[in-house]
Symmetry: C2
């Protein structure tokens, strides 16, 4: 096994927009989220119309060791599909026993979490609010405001992303707009 030595480095992330001048983001247009929003007609119409960019984030190219950390910003745009707020795909970590921290730089939103044991939780983001995602919790950002929701995140470099479980089973809960306000409801399509 060859060992890669990581040297100290720095990277810029604007404190409001989250954007870096020295790196490109990974982009998730709506078309990459098929099956994740409850209102499939609204989803198809939005994809046909302009396929909006829902979120983007930074991915570091570091060795995926248990001692390194990956970090960056996530920028989730405001919008809705039907009455469901724009959100990230959400994922478990492949190494389920690893947590993650998100620190909100700007915008308004929430982190929706659930673990395989059936516990779920929602924590709200506003500028200056850090949310801790403990080990075992799938986590998804949701934008509840009119501005981009920008967070700085850090997690163990070997944690890995398991998107498949969420893609197959969905989330237990959805966050939708009711009378102009966010409401957490059961996901009618959730599979045990």
């Amino acid at each position: 096994m060859t060992e890669t030595i990581v040297k100290p480095f720095n990277l810029d992330f604007d404190l409001i927009t989250g954007l870096s001048e020295s790196k490109d983001t990974t982009k998730r247009p709506l078309s990459k989220m098929k099956g994740m929003y409850a209102d499939e007609l609204a989803f198809e119409a939005a994809v046909q119309n302009e396929d909006p960019l829902v979120y983007e984030f930074y991915e570091l190219d570091l060795p995926q060791t248990p001692g390194d950390l990956l970090f960056g910003t996530s920028i989730l745009y405001p919008g809705k599909v039907g009455d469901e707020y724009y959100m990230t795909k959400g994922h478990f970590h492949t190494i389920l026993e690893t947590g993650e921290v998100y620190y909100c730089l700007s915008g308004k939103g929430a982190m929706l979490m659930e673990n395989p044991e059936g516990d779920w939780d929602i924590q709200y983001f506003s500028p200056g609010k850090a949310v801790y995602v403990p080990p075992r919790y799938a986590h998804r950002n949701i934008n509840l405001g009119n501005e981009p929701l920008v967070t700085f995140f850090a997690f163990r470099a070997d944690a890995g992303h398991d998107y498949g479980t969420i893609e197959t089973k969905g989330y237990r809960k959805l966050v939708v707009e009711r009378d102009g306000k966010p409401e957490v409801i059961d996901n009618p399509n959730w599979k045990e």
Copy 2:
């Protein structure tokens, strides 16, 4: 062994001052840093005079597992002892193979790093700059400006802090003011 289940939670850290309204800081007055500044006369005079608060930071009470993360802010005040800028004690992680990330919220400064193999490095902080401290590197914040240097940090919850090595051997390098500007010099008191 009893297992502690960590539930999701949030915590506020002001994006400029770094201060939380819901938690107290751990405080490091200058008197707790005996032997760490090169100019011992200036050190003793400052401690006798008012023993200024040099820095403060947040410590979370989470289980120290390899899957959890500890995070918070560090607030390092501006000032000098002789011609040496205010700095944190600096530490290795007890589990040497664990890294740490610092994201600068406000102020101006640097992260001075060295590993047991003799490599050293300095990375500069300004608002929006993230600095990665790779595994094996001792790390110390240094305030090079006129405002508090505020950083948001995250590291593995079981990493641990080894302050003793730095307290005994010192750092290989010092950062001092020369003609109004920071300069990195060899530490005359460093012990191999």
